[in-house]
Subunit: 277 residues, 2 copies
């Protein structure tokens, strides 16, 4: 058993790598899993990508992403069905769903349309053994990216659906501030709905582009021991996916990024998520 047998490299962390570089880089570093983005998969070709991952002995912790289901028309439904099909082909058990932002000033309406469209997509995903993993994004993205802003809200949206069909993503960057985090992580675990634990740090000050303010674990203010302990206590034993959007990380050599990631994971994350603190 390796210290890294639950550590997954999300391909966004090594943004300048091709899919092949990321898959081979992760395998060479002894990681068992990768989180894939659809654009990298498309570049490589879906079947080739699936084979590449298999041939390197890796599993796919999650596929990013479906979603953007808040618009006034149904155009996004077909795209989401395609994303579900891709997840099935890749053997990705979890399709990360980023809800989408507001079409206008009607936040309630956007949330209602999202809720309705989940009822249309969930059976399609469930038939293909793909779970729709609802990801609450930080409230600063509510307007333009995701009207799901808290874990509690994601769980409420998941509630009408079977836990095998709809889960939730816990991403430290998005949820660390939530005063009700402990409560909702416990709920998510009790319901068997934790699809994915994604990690990165919250930098202070924030990057000028708030999308790029995700940092390497240890470079910001997030207490990975506390949140990891909650996730462990909630019964989660799945992969821990490192997803960093950060200009400096992207400019660095991918292999050295993975080495730093492994070191920080072992030091800051591993004891908590394995209950060995």
């Amino acid at each position: 058993m390796s210290a890294f047998d639950r550590l997954s490299l999300n391909t966004a962390t090594t943004k300048n790598w091709t899919l092949r570089q990321a898959v081979e880089g992760a395998a060479a570093a002894g990681l068992p899993a990768v989180g894939l983005w659809r654009d990298r998969v498309a570049e490589a070709g879906l079947d080739k990508a699936a084979k590449m991952v298999r041939d390197n002995g890796l599993r796919v912790s999650s596929l990013c992403r479906g979603g953007f289901l808040t618009g006034r028309d149904d155009a996004a439904l077909d795209e989401n069905r395609r994303a579900i099909d891709e997840a099935a082909t890749l053997g990705a058990p979890e399709l990360v769903i980023v809800a989408g932002g507001m079409a206008d000033r009607d936040l309630d309406g956007a949330r209602r349309r999202l809720k309705d469209r989940l009822f249309e997509l969930v059976p399609y995903a469930a038939e293909r053994q793909v779970r729709m993993a609802l990801e609450p994004l930080h409230p600063m993205y509510c307007a333009d990216r995701a009207v799901i802003s808290t874990l509690g809200q994601a769980l409420a949206l998941a509630a009408p659906h079977p836990s095998e069909a709809v889960g939730v993503v816990i991403d430290t960057f998005h949820v660390w501030w939530d005063p009700e985090l402990a409560l909702h992580i416990a709920d998510a675990g009790a319901q068997g709905r934790i699809s994915c634990y994604q990690i990165c740090d919250w930098l202070v000050p924030m990057a000028t582009d708030p999308l790029l303010s995700r940092g390497m674990m240890g470079d910001g203010v997030i207490d990975f021991a506390s949140i990891g302990a909650l996730v462990h206590a909630a019964g989660y034993r799945g992969d821990v996916e490192v997803e960093i959007f950060n200009e400096a990380v992207w400019a660095a050599d991918g292999h050295s990024v993975i080495e730093t990631m492994k070191q920080r994971y072992r030091e800051l994350v591993l004891p908590a998520v394995t209950g060995t603190e």
Copy 2:
């Protein structure tokens, strides 16, 4: 009765004006109230500032700000007592409290220290008829500015104290995204704890300095009709304070900013907050 008999100019909106310019500008525009920042009051001198406001026939809707009560030592207590004294001298019924950020990675500890220190300060404020108005700030400020991130959390912190002594601020920019907003505004009203309704818009995309991403009502995505209706339904009949941090607004002529503010208020805010939609 004027359409503007509840509209208050927060001096941060006309940042480049002296206190005298802001007070006289507000009075000349027919506004009944101003929200004051302590630095502007200090520049003018406390007693002079109080007289200036009185002589212009204005009331002080709130004083900004006390708080920053999360540090590891008690240094902030004296500064908060001074802020309370100033509010009393100015006849400001509400002292806005910005909680303060994290001293380190210990978010729970910061929140505990804040809670404890409120017990020390509230009796001092109550003796002087000043209400401590807890302001939840947007979660993106949790690390470095305010560990109170939701209205529900502010109400929980207020709960042990009498409603005359501790209230909450509802600032559209900070709370508009909250999926539990309607619930908590109703609670705040039922408890008689709405200290202040502050308004400005959420701009998309955000400003590169997230502190300066507050916009004039109508320039962003916030639905002032919906939130204003909740605030009205909750029984709030107090001042509506416009507080905008925005480079372009600051660069404009103060008088024209007030005119725009009046026009947007009348069009977008007034019908909802007066229940006349």
